[in-house]
Symmetry: C2
Subunit: 325 residues, 2 copies
């Protein structure tokens, strides 16, 4: 016969309420009590009916994470950091890679509305999705603006863009080009572009920004980046808004016989662990991934409880010196 | 008042069974019928009580994926490929990064037993977990051996290891060292080591394998890899069982003034997209990530239906020529 909750309570010599509190991670419980209950559950091979309990409690302890793709190292490492924080808070993670597919994003939002998940962390780039208009959903955005009602957690992209551009200037470059994603996307990363353009104008220089879609095939991306060198053979430096494009630019520069950093200076953005491991020579701006994850999770928890949250949480960036400036 | 299933049926002019089939993605339905039902649901702002439905159906359409960490690019790209395939099959993905933490792995297995998830795909490395002993669980392992009852999907690691070692020999190296993870882990990757050792012995050469834990800090890893050059200053080639270690070896060789591939030849393993983008010069063996994901999902679906599956599904590898051999 299947063991019941009362059998566990009896064997552990505690009340049914205590067993329930252990199962739901609620209220203060001594480690000794928790151990006694866990031992009794193990002895009796007790399996709580989790789905029935969810129905009763109207919560699932599931958090959805919707990112453009974890194959992009920034989002890959962010997803790991988020999952680790959420697990510590007794949440499980439902993950989706939207690949900028708005149907899929819609689908995840439907789940939130259907109470299959308790909250949602989004880092995708599709604007105008109707569901976000509904007020007071437990949603936190990372690195994107969804609407004025949803809190955003992001690196200080403006400071990062300013630092990158100033470093290129300080290194001696004046013909500096910026590479970023299409402007139509409502991503916080566009503040990098704003900073670049502001710094250039402040120095009496003309800003030139190339817009390259992150999701196109690598060969097309390489052709578009090579075009920069055809259009501006005298380019002295490039500030790339992500490290994978910077890596391609480094290859192109090498193929063209440009010496880095003597003939050509380069700085990327994101500074993920994998890029720092594989390409430590690339100078880049490090986004504080762990801190972004920590703030996103604590903000989401406040939203779930219906508490007030800041609209914008902006976190400082750091420099990875590298050797390309 | 909240709309009910019968309201949707009435507005769409179909039976309640049809609405239910649309909701559950079951049976043959014309696109026209699906659209009519979706439109009626949208008009009425109908929200199915998903959790109650799960309780009734005893299935959740959730699949757990448990990987060592998606910060390792192989597992990151694998997780994206798995999620894409599962989404196409109307599953959602519950993701966990075990970081080789057996408590966490145990926790996910408990969820499977508690019917919070319908199936589990594991790529973690913790042996001896009691739950796997229970028969006929819908579990598929990737790149690891769990027990004789659980099917495994993996690249042809032996063929990959053989190809790598033969290429180093063909390039002119004979003092060839292999770097792999600790032998105690029950991973399929050890077949790469077996292949290396077999090929070396076949050529009358002595195999030398260094065991380096993937999860140690990068600085410790670098120190351990540098030790190889101290222990064997005359080393002519290294076959590294993963590309991130190979990247470190490439840096060490450059720091030591070894010319690659003239003085020192190197080949990695995994050949993920990000490594091919960031470090295209690294010669490596490409694991067929998309094919592994496709086979893992279809095998899992057969397990869920209680159908017979092959015990081992081994998929061919490819060479990324690069320029380090």
């Amino acid at each position: 016969m299947m063991a019941k909750l009362e059998d566990v309570a009896k064997l552990a010599n505690v009340s049914k309420t205590t067993v329930s509190r252990v199962l739901n991670h609620r209220g203060y419980l001594s480690e000794q009590t928790i151990n006694k209950v866990h031992q009794a559950m193990a002895t009796l091979n007790y399996r709580p009916n989790v789905i029935a309990r969810q129905l009763y409690k109207n919560q699932t302890n599931l958090i959805g994470i919707l990112l453009p793709t974890v194959a992009n190292p920034f989002f890959g490492e962010l997803s790991v950091a988020l999952e680790r924080r959420l697990y510590q808070q007794h949440y499980k993670v439902l993950i989706g890679n939207s690949m900028n597919d708005s149907d899929k994003e819609q689908d995840y939002l439907e789940q939130l509305l259907n109470k299959q998940i308790d909250g949602l962390i989004v880092g995708t780039h599709n604007r105008g999705i109707r569901e976000y208009q509904e007020m007071n959903l437990p949603v936190v955005a990372i690195d994107r603006m969804v609407n004025t009602d949803i809190p955003i957690v992001a690196a200080d992209n403006y400071a990062g863009g300013k630092l990158a551009t100033e470093l290129l200037l300080k290194g001696g470059a004046t013909k500096i080009i910026h590479v970023n994603g299409p402007k139509k996307l409502a991503v916080a990363a566009h503040r990098r572009r704003e900073a670049y353009e502001d710094v250039m104008r402040l120095h009496g220089l003309t800003p030139i920004t190339y817009e390259i879609d992150f999701n196109i095939a690598e060969s097309d991306k390489k052709a578009q980046l090579q075009q920069i060198f055809s259009d501006y053979p005298d380019v002295e430096g490039i500030f790339s808004s992500n490290d994978t494009d910077a890596a391609l630019l480094l290859q192109i520069a090498a193929e063209m016989g440009r010496r880095v950093p003597d003939d050509f200076r380069l700085i990327g953005f994101d500074g993920t662990q994998i890029v720092r491991e594989l390409l430590p020579q690339l100078t880049t701006i490090i986004q504080p991934i762990d801190e972004i994850a920590t703030q996103a999770v604590s903000t989401l928890q406040r939203r779930i409880k219906g508490e007030q949250t800041d609209h914008e949480i902006i976190l400082p960036v750091k420099l990875w010196p590298g050797a390309t400036i």
